[in-house]
Every structure is written in C-alpha cells, then in structure tokens.
C-alpha cells in the first residue's frame, strides 16, 4: 500500500468552495422561492446573487484548471466496469464484496461517478447558470424584446434544477460513505491523500 495524492490542492479548494457556495445557494434560493423564511426575501436575494457570481467565477477557474491539467479526461464516460459498479451498489456492498474498480491517480473516478459528475457539470450546472442569468437579467432582456414568459420559464427551470441539485447532493454525500471505511473518501477529499495498492 502506498499513499497517493488523489486530489490536488486546487481540486480540493475548488470542491469545497463549490460545496459551500452551492449549499449557500440552496439555502438562500429556497428562501427566495418561499419554501421557508430564514433570511427574508431581500437578504436572501442579495446573498443568492453574490454566491452565484462567486460560483461562476470559480467555475471559470475550474474549467481552466481541468483543461490545462488534462484532468477533464477523468470524466470521459466508459462502459468498462459500469455493470459491475451497478451490481456492487445493488448487491455486492451488502455482502462485503470488494470494490470492483481500483482507483489510480489517472483514473480516480469509477464509471458511475464519471457519469454522475459529467451530468452535474454538463447538465445541472449549465442549466442553473443559464436559467439563473436569464432570471437575473430578465428586465434587461425584456427591454430587448424577450417575451414576458421568459421569466416564468427561467424561474421554473431554475427551481426544478435546484431540486435536482439537492437530490444530487444528498445522494453524493451518502455515497462518500461507501469507501473502504465510511470516512475514507471524505478524508481523501479533505486532505488529498488516499492509501492505495501499488500501481503497476
């Protein structure tokens, strides 16, 4: 066994900042939506806008990082071991079967993770950013002739996206406990290092 730096410093910074911002966006967003009133509409809107701006800046840096480091390749979907992974979560994990995919520095995501995170990056985030921008700039867009139903559609898509994000977050947090020990993956994400078998 050897210690491998699975998540580099920027990656961890990006992950946890994104986590804080998304949780902040969810809390303030559902406040704006009226699901509850914690901050109140005015403050919730202000914080939501600020968090959204920060997240977009972070995303720009993350995209740059992924491409310059080639880390984007980690997210290329594969069918290899896909069935095995599904079987592992459905049955193997209860029997205490070994994890079917071995992590390595160059392939740290299992095929299900690849699909989930790629969906997150290419679907949920872009939909939320786009619908959020349209929502925010609706008055200006409307002045340019965008139809009035734009706001309703943008708002409803944004709300639906937020629910999916919340569901994703719950599943994501739970699945971190499926490592060697329940806290293995969490520790790796915090400190970067994970114990692995020797790479061949």
């Amino acid at each position: 066994m050897t210690r491998v730096l699975l998540y580099k410093r920027f990656e961890r910074f990006w992950h946890w900042t994104q986590m804080l911002l998304i949780v902040g966006l969810l809390i303030t967003g559902f406040d704006v939506h009226g699901s509850y009133h914690i901050l109140g509409y005015a403050q919730a809107v202000d914080f939501h806008d600020a968090f959204a701006l920060a997240l977009m800046v972070l995303i720009v840096f993350a995209i740059f990082w992924h491409f310059t480091t080639g880390e984007w390749k980690q997210y290329i979907p594969t069918r290899k071991f896909l069935k095995e992974m599904a079987e592992f979560y459905l049955t193997g994990i209860f029997r205490g079967a070994p994890h079917p995919v071995r992590k390595s520095r160059t392939a740290k995501l299992n095929p299900l993770q690849r699909l989930a995170y790629l969906g997150f990056k290419l679907l949920i985030i872009p939909v939320q950013v786009t619908s959020g921008l349209i929502y925010f700039f609706y008055p200006n867009l409307n002045a340019h002739g965008w139809p009035t139903w734009t706001l309703k559609v943008a708002a409803e898509v944004h709300v639906l996206g937020a629910f999916l994000l919340l569901a994703f977050l719950i599943g994501h947090v739970y699945l971190t406990t499926t490592g060697t020990t329940p806290l293995t993956n969490l520790k790796a994400m915090i400190f970067g290092w994970e114990l692995m078998e020797e790479e061949e």
């Binding site: 704006v32 939506h33 009226g34 109140g40 509409y41 005015a42 403050q43 809107v45 202000d46 806008d49 600020a50 959204a52 701006l53 977009m56 979560y89 994990i93 209860f94 029997r95 205490g96 921008l133 929502y135 925010f136 700039f137 008055p139 200006n140 867009l141 409307n142 002045a143 340019h144 002739g145 009035t148 139903w149 706001l151 309703k152 708002a155 409803e156 709300v159 639906l160 937020a162 629910f163 999916l164 919340l166 569901a167 719950i170 599943g171 739970y174 406990t177």
Partner: protein, 575 residues
Amino acid sequence: MLQTERNGATTQRPSPSEHPPEAVRDPGPSPHRTEGGASRLLATGTRLLILIGSAAILSFNAGAAAPQGSTGTPGEHPYLEAHIKAAQRYTADHTQFQALKGPFPDGDGPAVTKACLTCHNQAGQQVMGTKHWLWRVPDKKYEEYGKGGWLINNFCISIRGGNYPACTKCHAGYGWKDSSFDFTKTENEDCLVCHDTTGDYMKDEAGLANPAVPLADVAQHVGRPGIANCGGCHFAGGGADATKHGDLDESLLNCKIDEDVHLSKQGAGMDCVDCHTTEGHHIAGPDYLLPANMQETPEYPGQKLGHMSCASCHGEAPHNSFVLNRHYRKVACQTCHIPEFARGGLATNMWWDWSTAGKTKDGRAYEVRDKDGDVTYATIHGSMVWKKNVVPTYRFWDGRMSFMLATDKLPAERPVWLNQTIGSYNDPNSKIWPFKVHEGNQPYDTQLDKLVVPHLYGDKGSGALWVDHDWPSAIKTGMEIAGLPYSGHYGFVRTNMIWPITHMVAPAKEALTCVNCHSEKSRLAGLKGFYLPGRDRSRGIDFLGWAAVLITCVAVVAHGSGRIFFKARKKRGSK
C-alpha cells in the same frame, strides 16, 4: 457602467392636438419591438458579462440602500433656503402700484382683475386658454372632456344639472352661475384665488369674491402660488376637504415629513408649483388627454407640460442598488414610495351611495357622523364611508385614462367604471402605479340606460335635491337644465372611479420593502398574467422536486440501513 435599459425614454408623448380619442383607447405599438431580434440578443449577451460584475456586487448593497442626501434639517435644506428668501426674489413690490391701491367695492373681483391687467396685459388672454378657466380640455375636438363638459363623476355627479353656483366656487373666475357664462371676458378671471399670499381671500357661490375680503390688501400682496392657493380647490375636490383624491388634503398645508417629504417644511419645503411648473399660466400636469409622464425622463421640471417626473430631480439611478434601480421599467416610483394614502390624519371618501339620500327626520334634513367626525349619512348626500391610511389599488398604467360621458350608453359590466386606466403588463410603456378606487352608487335612466345629471343645488321648490330631498324631481329638473333626454324612470347603479396616487411621498425609510410585493401576501395579488418572483410558483414543479428529494432520501436510508444490517449480521456470523 450601470446600463439599465432606457427604452422609450426618448419616446415623444403625443401632444393633445395629435391625440385622437382612438389613441386614448388603443396604446400604440411599442417603440423597441421594431429592432432586429438576433443582433439584439448578441448585444445583450456581451452586455451580460459586462453587467454581471457590477450587478451582483451592487446588489449586495440593496438591503442597505440608504437615501441619498440628508432628510433635511429645517433651514438647512438648499431648497428651503431658496423659499425663505422668496420674498426677496420679486422684482416688483405690489404695494406700491397705484392701480392696486383701491379701494375696490366689496366683493368686486372683476375690478381687481382689471387693475391687474393694466400691467399684466397679456395675462388675460393666457388664462383664457387654460384648464383652470375652461374646465374643459383646451382643444375644440375634446371639449366635452372636463368638469365643464359631459364627464360624470362619483361625487356631485355633474355641474350641468344646474349645479353651477355650487361647483364654480372653485372656478378661477367670477360669476359662472349658469350655462350662459361668458368665457371671453377677461375681467371675469380670478387672479387672486391663485396669487393671494395673505390667506384672507375667499370665494363664494358662482366663484364670486366674498364681500368680506379686503380686496385692496389682498391685491397688494400677490405672489407665486403656494400650497394653500392650489389646495384651496384641489384639497377640496369632490366637494369638501379630503373627499376626492386621497393624496391631497389640508393636512399637507402643515405636514410632518412622514406625510410628504416634498411639501413638509421638515423636508424639502417645496410648493406645488415647484413640480407643477407653469408657462404662460398653463400649469404642468397630466389631464384628460395629456398622459402622465411614465418614463421618468430626467428632463428638468417644466421642460414640457405634463412632463414633471421624479427623475427630473432624483436622476435615473436614485438607489444604491442595481436591482432596485432597474424596477423603474415596470414600477412607478410612487408605487413603493407612497405606501398608503390619506396619511395625514384626514380620512378620504371611499364609498358614496346616493341611493339613500333624501331621508328626513321630522321633515328635516339630518346627518350622522362617526367618532372621527366623518359624515356617514347625510340627507343631502346619502351614505358614505371614509378611510385613513389606505393601501392603494395597483394597476399597470401607461399614463392615460379613458372616460365615460353622460351622453354615453352604459356598458354591460357592473360596476360601471366612470374612468378607467389604460395599460397592461405587456405594454413597455406601462408601469405598476398606485390608485385610489372610489366606489359609488348613483342614479341612472333605466330605460335609456344612461347616467343622469341630477339638480342638486338650488332654491327651495326648484326640485334641487339638497333642499327638496326628492329624487324624481331632482333628476327631472337636472336633465331639463342639461338639455338631455330622460325617460322618467330611474334606478341606481354601482359606479367606480379610479384616481392615480402621486402625492404624499413618504421618506425613503418608509418605502415599501421587497416582501410587500414579492411574497405570498403580495400587494400585487390582484395583478395577474405575469410571473412575480416570491409571489408565484409552479405547484407542479414543487411537487416533482420534493418528490425527487424524498425518493433520494428514502433510497439513501434504505441502502444505508441495508449496509448496517448486513454488516452487523456478518459480524455476528464471524463471531
């Protein structure tokens, strides 16, 4: 940096003469919809990026948006300073003019006017073309618009049922006691009602000067109209103080800053005519044909009649928040900054039911007052409801109104709206504006299906309602005097009027906050057909969303318990 959209800012409002009645009822095409769509979208896209930085950062300040400038300590405000020294600004001392020495015969207003006109020899002709003199739109084509025309109102209904002497107490002229009044005689104009600075001037029936007024003294102390001059009539609209408008009453003469930041001496200490600027005796302000200025164009006050706007003084971006400033496209300043009307302690009339008028006690007229002293029943007026601190009704409005005339057939809908706002959410020139909706119940001809103009004011035995207390003869006489056909059959019909609220602007700290509109308990609950964040949501999407979250939670709990269960069993097994 803050590039809010200025669409329509340069749109010319039609002048009365190029404003046919068709246009009054049919808003024209929107000016910016004609632009090419695709290139606009691209331009918008690039602008988004530029905007976004400033936008979100500035929106951070929204909650803390403080009013710019101080709320004003008396005597320190530059505007008030100018007024304190107003007397020094006059270039003529009227006490020194021989023509004004008098003495004038008691109550002889025209004698004073003649004296005024010896120097101001163009003023007579100027006044002759104004609304204050004509009580009609100064445009031959639409002259039936105006209280001197065939307009019907919810208060004393119409001047034309022979009610001239009572109504014309507020006419800027002398002697309009019937339809034969000569509108071409300059000496019948009343200079003093607007220009008296002593407060001693009073008008009687038919607008004649009260014989007790010291005419020479008043004439020697004329000046720029103050709040009391305008208010003398405009506060009393509807027949008495605070009756009609809701945002104009005598409390404004000496109000605290909380009631009106502009007129209060604790605030800007302004006069009506600081905004309602005047040119050749034409006073700026919207009327039956001239729409209110909805675009808040930062023109200076009085640049164009009817074009005074908040932005004339406050600029285009008065808030420290991008998001708030941007509201002006759909929300008039008045909407947030006049949280309630009738805030000066005086209740305004909200309901006037003429159908109950005429009841007497022991053959005598009587009235009933509530604990605040407001008349809830009067033999001569019927039943009334008065309210203070009223939350306005909100409408999308493009600044224009349509009006019903006494000669129009009643529409099918009830209540009948005697005037109606024009505008809609989809119209780029329309904004949410606060209104007072006044409800009434007034007589109409059940056979001809038209409103009637009753004879209210007159001598005993003339049929006038206020002395004879008899509806059938009041209506018959009124219609005869008006020269309108009447079937002899009358009933009562519910009639509404709607008045834009624009005065009684509150200090910034008392303006509405987000949740007054952006919440489930929105003040705008009555405005439908558009998505309002915080007020509106899709129940279907909420259901789907919570279902997805719940299913995820159930799956997580089930999966997790399964793992714990099997792990525990395995442990036991291995032992």
